[in-house]
């Protein structure tokens, strides 16, 4: 066949694109239910971890059961544990690259953080993306929110520790912008909910 023929070139391109499109559509169709299940499991797992609750096993069914039995989503978008000891709020921060979405859970007095977990982030892998790691999120457990002093941030991420404060966690080395963006996003949300 004459591969220089313009008709052949156009036909080749069309057929190639149709075949590739078909292949990827089939793969997408076949994996769609699995991806939807994974998405649901991931969200339930994140919410459970934010509330520091563990199911009896790691199956999707148990996580779904835990979230539906022990945590209620209120009409105003707040998560509330059924024993009313913990309250969860979704937050959105304008991260370095894109939105950072997560859930922060406080005690019923809204003065201490129980935990923080992330639903979505697109920060630099190995740098800002490390906000998801336990080493970073565990710092928030038991952190006090400084409601008393209105001139300071409710919580502080990175930066110099102010003497006498107990509302600061370390930022991530090399990810100053992500740490700052997260701090601003959390403080904005918290100042609406807890003050």
């Amino acid at each position: 066949m004459n591969t220089r023929n313009p008709v052949y070139v156009v036909l080749f391109m069309i057929i190639l694109m149709v075949l590739i499109g078909l292949l990827l559509s089939i793969i997408n169709f076949v994996t769609k239910p699995t991806l939807a299940r994974n998405e649901e499991l991931l969200k339930n797992r994140i919410i459970s971890r934010a509330f520091v609750m563990k199911p009896s096993d790691e199956s999707a069914e148990q996580y779904r059961k835990l979230v539906t039995d022990s945590i209620r989503l209120e009409p105003n978008g707040t998560y509330l544990s059924t024993d009313r000891t913990r309250v969860g709020f979704e937050f959105i921060a304008n991260g370095f690259w894109d939105k950072i979405r997560g859930v922060i859970v406080l005690d019923s007095s809204l003065s201490t953080i129980v935990n923080i977990q992330f639903l979505e982030q697109h920060e630099t892998p190995g740098l800002g993306a490390r906000i998801e790691e336990l080493e970073f999120t565990d710092q928030f457990k038991g952190l006090k929110i400084d409601k008393a002093n209105t001139s300071r941030q409710l919580i502080q991420i990175g930066g110099t520790k102010i003497a006498g404060s107990n509302n600061r966690v370390d930022g991530i080395t090399g990810a100053t912008q992500t740490s700052l963006a997260l701090m601003i996003g959390l403080n904005n949300m918290l100042s609406e909910k807890v003050k």
């Binding site: 066949m1 591969t3 220089r4 052949y8 070139v9 080749f12 391109m13 190639l16 694109m17 590739i20 292949l23 990827l24 793969i27 997408n28 994996t31 699995t34 991806l35 994974n38 998405e39 499991l41 991931l42 697109h122 892998p125 190995g126 740098l127 993306a129 998801e132 080395t173 090399g174």
Partner: protein, 205 residues
């Protein structure tokens, strides 16, 4: 005359290493090597994509019109990148959360296009597949060496596991966290290996 399997691997792993000798795939070598786990996933993705796209493009080499050969290469490579992305997302969403951004970057790795153009376009399928594997391995070797230096010095961990007794002796070397350190390390490694290979060549003459 077709190259032997040994010759293909020897060429891509050392003598014509894609990163150190051909200076291809530098971007990801700088970006992902601050953490070894991320590096390993990136290497696996590049190895699979290079090998499979080399195989497919070699099979198609006689029917691809010359005018659109690069477009065809990009289309085939992109298809494999999407397959890698979807398969990881379906099989292991936890892994995908960390390496998702890297997977999309595989298509920008010039090694894959480079080997498709330099080898798969004019060789039979099996040697092309092996060349893809060898190039992926050559790339992986360099990245792993850099990551093994950067992660312990930058984060005090290796594969996420803290170094023994690091509270006592370890101090963070912040620059190792940044891509800047990869520039220096890659340059030093390139210098060393090229020197070694040139001396070896001079010794053989």
């Amino acid at each position: 005359m077709a190259e032997s399997t040994t010759a293909i691997f020897k060429r891509s792993l050392l003598n014509e290493n894609p990163v150190l000798r051909q200076v291809l795939g530098i971007c990801s070598a700088l970006a992902v090597t601050n953490i070894l786990t991320n590096t390993l996933f990136m290497c696996a993705g590049v190895l699979f994509t290079t090998a499979m796209s080399n195989l497919v493009l070699s099979i198609m080499r006689n029917i691809i019109p010359q005018r659109i050969r690069m477009i065809t290469q990009v289309a085939v490579i992109s298809a494999f990148v999407v397959i890698v992305d979807v398969v990881i997302k379906a099989l292991s969403p936890d892994v995908h959360r960390f390496i998702g951004p890297y997977v999309g970057l595989i298509i920008t790795n010039c090694i894959i296009m480079g080997r498709a153009e330099a080898f798969a376009a004019s060789n039979t399928p099996l040697p092309s597949f092996l060349d893809g594997v060898a190039s992926g391995l050559g790339y992986s070797l360099v990245l792993i060496v850099i990551a093994v230096i950067r992660e312990p010095l930058g984060f005090g961990t290796i594969l996420g596991i803290p170094l023994p007794l690091r509270e006592i002796w370890w101090h963070q070397w912040t620059i190792m966290v940044m891509p800047t350190s990869a520039f220096f390390l890659l340059a030093l490694l390139t210098w060393y290996i090229r020197n070694l290979l040139d001396k070896k060549k001079a010794g053989q003459k």
